[in-house]
Amino acid sequence: MALSKTAHIVTAYGEELDQLNDELARMGGLVETQLTAAINAIVRRDAGVAGEVRQREKQVNAMHVDIEKRVLRLFALRQPLATDLRMTISALKISTDLERVGDLAKNIAYRAKDLSAYPALGLMDRVERLGAIVIQQLHEVLDALSSLDVEPAIRVWRADDEVDERYNALVREMLISMGEDSSLVEPGVHILFVAKNLERIGDHATNIAEALHFMVTAAPLEADTPPAS
């Protein structure tokens, strides 16, 4: 979807912007799949997913490089302005966030492999819940990106506090559990890393929300930004 309803006079320029948008949407879709697979691997104690996730991560990285090239080319050859300028610069920022999410999802998948060697932990339902919220956050912000709708983006941005609270609570409880039972220290460390990765992915979702908000409105998304009407 384009920010302007009118087509470019230079068709090729319009097509390049559309292709950048399409590539970003594809990258978002792939990263979302990646994250879902990684969290499922943790929940299902599936050690086999790591390889698959690593393959996809290479694809995500290649897409990031491709988007960087497209953005560089647009700046050099088209000198985008106004909505096109905001779209191009935001695409670059969003693809950087998506690349990081892909990386963090890969880390989570690796932890799934490590965790499968230990007995199931009692706190896994908390991890699952945190994961579900983070997937939802990413899903909503990517949907908002494809529809260029700032309202859900603002919701995602505000909902990050809940992610942080759940993460902090999980860390506190995990530390208590590890203190009480030293056999939980090793799997507990893996869980803490998974939780930290999820919390970071939540932050990247809010970064994407901010970039989207700027892209559409030209204004930064700040604490006093009113909900979109």
């Binding site: 302007s4 087509a7 470019h8 006079i9 000198q79 302005l81 300028l85 905001r86 030209a218």
Partner: protein, 274 residues
């Protein structure tokens, strides 16, 4: 020409907004309308142009930007059938008042055109011409000093100091354009109008003129009409977008090129406009 906008929408913000508040207003237009033989070329243009800065006028051909520029030094007076109404003030003085001598006004409001137009005289005489006819120099030494100072301000002195008696028309296009700017500066103008001053120049000559514009804005109110969006973005602090005789949008250059409010401005600067 049909005015596509209802009257109540034809007055965008007259001031360019944040960041320019500290600069005094040099040029003030209110409801300026221009027609040529009954054909409307400019509709109710109201704008405040600050001093000591560069204001770019952009818009498609025939949008009225050059027409408005020509109002500022009454060049429309020379066009038969041209009618200018509304209030247009420079430093609070009405430009179209009967008491204003257009010759004096044009010394105060210098003009640089698209194509360099040096007189078929020496480099020295091109610059000395204005000060001579306006009686600005009492002696040859004073005139020499004005010529040197003007050529220095126009960034041309080092290139022509040893051949001031050579014809101005023998210089390169970019040098000729700087000579014309020196000629305008020589009569102590307060406002300098530039109508696509770089469109006939190569990128290096263009860069030199743009650097010069940046230096000149410390002392003058500069208004530049340009078809190059990049040039407007590079040289100006305020940008005004004209369309079909209307001033559609006026704001800081940064705002206009990153977040224009009017969809017509948006479409024009992003290249979505016929």
């Amino acid at each position: 020409m049909v005015n596509p906008m209802p009257d109540n929408q034809s007055h965008p913000d007259m001031s360019a907004g944040a960041g320019q508040a500290e600069l005094p207003i040099k040029v003030q237009a209110r409801d300026v309308c221009v027609s040529y033989s009954g054909k409307q070329a400019l509709n109710h243009v109201s704008i405040d142009v600050p001093d000591r800065s560069v204001t770019a006028f952009i818009g498609p051909s025939g949008c009225g930007k050059s027409t408005f520029l020509r109002c500022l030094n009454r060049m429309n007076d020379t066009i038969e059938g041209a009618k200018v109404v509304g209030s247009l003030k420079i430093d609070g003085l009405e430009v179209n008042d009967k008491s204003v001598d257009p010759v004096v006004l044009r010394a105060n409001v210098g003009m640089v055109f698209q194509k360099p137009n040096p007189f078929p005289k020496s480099i020295y005489d091109n610059v000395a011409y204005g000060p001579r006819i306006h009686g600005l120099a009492l002696s040859k030494d004073e005139l020499d000093a004005i010529v040197e100072d003007s050529l220095k301000k126009a960034g041309l002195w080092d290139e022509v100091a040893d051949r001031l008696n050579h014809p101005g028309t023998g210089l390169s296009g970019g040098q000729q354009q700087r000579l014309v700017i020196a000629r305008a500066i020589a009569v102590n103008p307060e406002v300098i109008l530039m109508d696509e001053p770089c469109s006939a120049l190569d990128p290096i000559a263009t860069a030199k003129i743009e650097e010069l514009i940046d230096e000149l804005r410390e002392n003058y109110c500069i208004i530049i009409v340009t078809h190059s969006m990049q040039q407007a973005a590079r040289v100006s602090q305020q940008t005004a977008f004209f369309h079909m005789g209307n001033l559609v949008e006026y704001g800081t250059t940064e705002e206009i090129f990153t977040n224009p409010r009017d969809p017509r401005t948006q479409d024009y600067i992003t290249g979505r406009f016929g």
